[in-house]
Symmetry: C2
């Protein structure tokens, strides 16, 4: 089993942190996004969608899409559970992880990809080119602010995003905040103390260096 | 257990078809989107995101987000498996279902929500208002066309979206095509024979009337 990934890719980091929380190590094969290696013939044979990360199993089965990779790893290495320990908590983790992804992570990605000059015709990752839409930058930044406000309210009630236990939703959340801070100059403001408390606690975990 | 849902909501239909494939029935509580009932005090207490569908368990646990609802139902009613029967097939189903959602379903939703006059300040579902961005309509329609071409190529190789077996990815795909056809006048063209063959076979299942 090996992971094709990039240290510059927030989606790759979601899987690296997941591996570190599980205490799993595996070969990490670097894909140089700066040199557009994801569009190379060799890599598109592995993942026709031309995105990282991709997990490749011993029998050459290819698993793309971060949540699919994470769920496969959860099945193979169940401890500690990062998708919840019972059907009900698994449903809560799935719900909250998705909300973080759709409202937070996807908004930051959209803000960055529609603004960065070198991504001019690459506003959406994947096999097809799409031109940037400038109006999306402002809207996406507003969505990140709304995400912060909504999750600040959520985290005033519970220690972790999905409830009482650390889960994959916190990994997605942490990567989202770091990506927003570094990629879009949108750090958590002082008006969101619960979100800041959560960020401080989660970012102190050893796995987050991954 | 009961499902708050709307017959006018493609996301609700994804869960109704899932229930029908499992042979499960449960009370369906209608939420009248035309009358903006999802914004009522009563409904926002159930689901603060103000979207349908929502699954509410006997103990009042609330599960929102379609894939979270579907995965919970899969755990409680494992037969027939709609998320795959082995770790490897489950990974393939998760990967393909997500691709259908992100590339197909989300594109149709974006095309519709940015175009329909009555959704003027509701370009994104959820608790926050966002104005429509006209440039998104054209781009989303292009994304739907690319989705059709990509999945026509996929379905030239395999009978179902995730491979040899019918799965939740086919439900998401079928709802996507019907939504594109009725909501955005984007039916599958004759240039996509494999996709048409798949659509004919999947739409003939009794569950699709749900």
């Amino acid at each position: 089993m090996k992971l094709y990934q990039s240290n510059a890719s927030p989606n790759s980091r979601r899987v690296r942190i997941f591996l570190a929380e599980k205490g799993i190590s595996m070969p990490l094969v670097p894909v140089d996004l700066g040199a557009k290696e994801q569009f190379s013939e060799a890599y598109t044979k592995i993942n026709p969608r031309r995105v990282v990360p991709t997990l490749v199993l011993e029998d050459c089965t290819v698993i793309g899409e971060v949540p699919a990779i994470q769920r496969y790893l959860e099945e193979i290495y169940p401890e500690p559970p990062l998708f919840g320990a019972t059907p009900k908590t698994r449903a809560q983790v799935a719900m909250w992880d998705r909300r973080v992804e759709m409202e937070g992570f996807a908004s930051v990605m959209e803000a960055v990809r529609n603004a960065v000059p070198r991504l001019k015709s690459r506003a959406i990752a994947g096999p097809h080119d799409y031109e940037q839409i400038p109006a999306l930058v402002e809207r996406s930044r507003k969505r990140v602010e709304n995400f912060y406000a909504d999750f600040n309210a959520r985290l005033a009630d519970v220690p972790f995003i999905a409830g009482d236990e650390f889960s994959v939703a916190d990994i997605t959340g942490l990567v989202t905040v770091d990506f927003a801070t570094k990629g879009a100059d949108l750090p958590i403001g002082d008006e969101h103390p619960a979100l800041k408390r959560w960020y401080g606690s989660v970012s102190a975990r050893a796995s987050m260096a991954a």
